[in-house]
Amino acid sequence: MQEFPYVIQWREDRCTRCGRCTAVCPQQAIEPAVFAQRLVHSESGTLVPSTVRKVSHGIRQVNDIDRYCTGCGMCSLVCPNMAIVPHYNPHHKFLFHKNLGGTPYKRGGRRNDPSPSTLDKLKFTRISMLTDPALDAGRHEFHIRTLLGRILPPDKLPLKLTGNRLVVEDDQFIPPVREIFPIRIGSMSIGALSPSMWEGLAMGITYLNEVEGIPVVMCSGEGGMPPRLLRSRFLKYFIPQIASGYFGWDEIIRSLPDMVEDPCAIEIKYGQGAKPGDGGLLMSYKVLKLIAGIRGVPMHIDLASPPTHQTKYSIEEAVAKMIQSMSMAWGFRVPVYPKISGTKTAQAVLNNLARNPYAAALCIDGEDGGTGAAYNVSMDKMGHPIVSNIRDCYLDLVKQGKQNELPIIAAGGMGKTGNLAANAAAMIMLGASAVDIGKYILQTAAGCLGDEYNRCNLCNTGKCPRGITTQNPKLYRRLDPDKVAERVVDVFKSAEIELKKIFAPMGRSTELPIGMSDGLSVGDKAIAERLEIDYAC
């Protein structure tokens, strides 16, 4: 049992034998057991010890690697008497065993690395004091917004001078640009997420836009969107994603004539930070009626998205033609951009996009991104850290003078330890125009149990005990979409306040401080040198 990652501690004296823990355990890692005990006791006035055999009932952790305890803690949650709790075992040898039958370990979640991230090491140290008084986060007006879309440089703007005024020349193409909140909800599909979760997120961002005036947008992930949403005026808050399986795009294309609003943008997925080089896979048991309907496929079959777009053979094909096709579908009124996984070759893609006048942005997903299903080896050992990847790309654009033309979006590991606003602000100051969140919103809005100690991470099994990543109604009914939406609103409202609290002492309020790297320091010389920021200790 000491080889297992989590060890159950069960207290016989507190347990009422109600059976709730065994019923709720998604892994069946615990089961009712019968214990035989030999007790020594004495009944007479003088000590005359005798032994009796006692049979008792209780809970036992299963010694089967395929039913290992994931540490999710659902047993503790349902226990009426605090009788059971899983403990993390730092000496476990889980990976030595989890390949029975020649099947490598597959899971959902994130990279299991609990060490502090580079982002969490960055500090905001250019505090305006006397020479340039700080702004007041409560009094001054702040504009925490970013631009998504291809921005024309001034010499390419179709402007002419009439008298003393600049006027826009007619019939000139001006790429579409959206003004959005700089933290977005990244791509998580309806299918990977349960209907309750996806609906909660969608309601939350709609409320933020319509009521709070915070233009938060959300990417659909691969797998389409509910047909009614596609035909609604709320579509403008969503970014439909097209990926290598093209799931859901039949319905999207069919909805085109009935759309009353354009979507915010279109994301073309080429890679995912958590599992670079891997395609998507929605297991058959998640493909129920709703999902099959939206994706335009039969029920109960595995839905595999290939690792690459199979019909394309080069970057020109893969990027330029797809961007152009997608742009054309919406009459060039919608920004279209690719998302790639973090990689040493990101700059090659970036430079290709910089020369493509229709490319609206580049989203890079770092190794700390999440996934619903992947091989453990992909998640733990594949991928590129996001921070230097984004910094390199931004500085590359600066060299070309195109830093304001092609927004870079950073994804993967934002808010990994809960510091969402600080991580977002740091990425922005290093050159990102926006950041994407995934796991963070699942944790804050729906109480996802996963962490970097491989806790839970059962997203791939369809048995998510919180009802977040499952299509099993019994499980997703645990999640109230209204409550999820409320928490989404809480998250973005508080992130906006925290961003103001960061930017105000640094004297920035009017425009997002993209590339304001003098605001950052780090207590690690190697990181400082690599990111071209100050070292402070």
Binding site: L135, H143, L147, L159, R165, Q400, G507, R508, T510
Partner: protein, 371 residues
Amino acid sequence: MCRLSAITSSLYFSPMENILALETMKEGHDGSGLGLVLKDLGGPFEDLKSYPILSGSCTKKGLEMLDDYMQQAGFRVKYSWEPKIKRVAGMEIEPRDHYFARAYQYPSPYEPKAQAEWEQLLLETRLDLRRMGEKDQSLFVFSFYPDCLTLKEVGDPLQLGEFFGLDDPSLQAKIILAQGRQNTNYAIYLYACHPFFIQGYCTMTNGENTAFIPIREYLTSRGFFGYMGYNSDSEVFTHILHFTHRQLKYPLTYYKDIITPLKDEEILERPDAEAISLLKKSLRPLCIDGPNMVVGFIPDGTIFMVQDSKKLRPGVVGGAEGKYALMSEMCGMDRAIPQRDRSADIFPSKYDMVMVTPNAQEVQVWNQLHG
């Protein structure tokens, strides 16, 4: 916060007028420097309007280097001016060997050429000289342009006025920008001293520029060789002006729209809403957050004052036809033009761009909200 004193007049006047105004604002500068830029020069320079004037200071070695370089480049000295240095006991000024303003004749192939070509030659020459003298600080050159003269030195402005003998009638102009420095750039360095000058454009600023790094990165990546230096975070204000007005050829008022863009709902009210909405996105990295007040001039002699979008710095414009002053504080204004109609003083709002037309003929307040 530095103190700014700018005067524009239809008649020639002495830079001492600016310096005396700075003296009244003395609590705002700390002796870390005086910067003076004179435009539309009188005195001996009045007849030399078409000759570029190289201004700077140097050591003996620097002077040799300068002479060698200019001779080799084909420039011939037409007229040379050096201030008559007065050393008074108690002055905390470390004199350099030479302060100079020299009018040169162009190398012969350049004389008939287009303005853009000789402007390029002059800027290249100044930057070459700057690079040659910067390492050992043997040579500082601040401007090389026709009808403009620059003087900069570390010290108290009034003492420097006396030190340079600026009450001498030989040095007069119709537009003079003066700055008394409050050093906030860590090291006291002459190239960090405003006003900054490039190809006929000049500005000086008080306050700090919190958006300095993104702005610097944007300017240096425009492919224009003159966008360099940046020893002060305020130098970008001059280069943004140059970029907006000279390179992009936008009217002067768009400078205000670029450094302090309107909010989207305010833009809708502007007659050129569509254009400035595009500008706001396209030139987003040039947006400042203040606290700044900028005073500057453009080659035609228009002088202006603008505030950051929250008006976090003071500023006043006053005077009458024929003479206007643009000051960072009222006491400076009272000293510069005491006899004006005070009720006509203009305190620019966060939306205003106050412009005084060439020869101090008229003051105009352009409001950004109305365009």
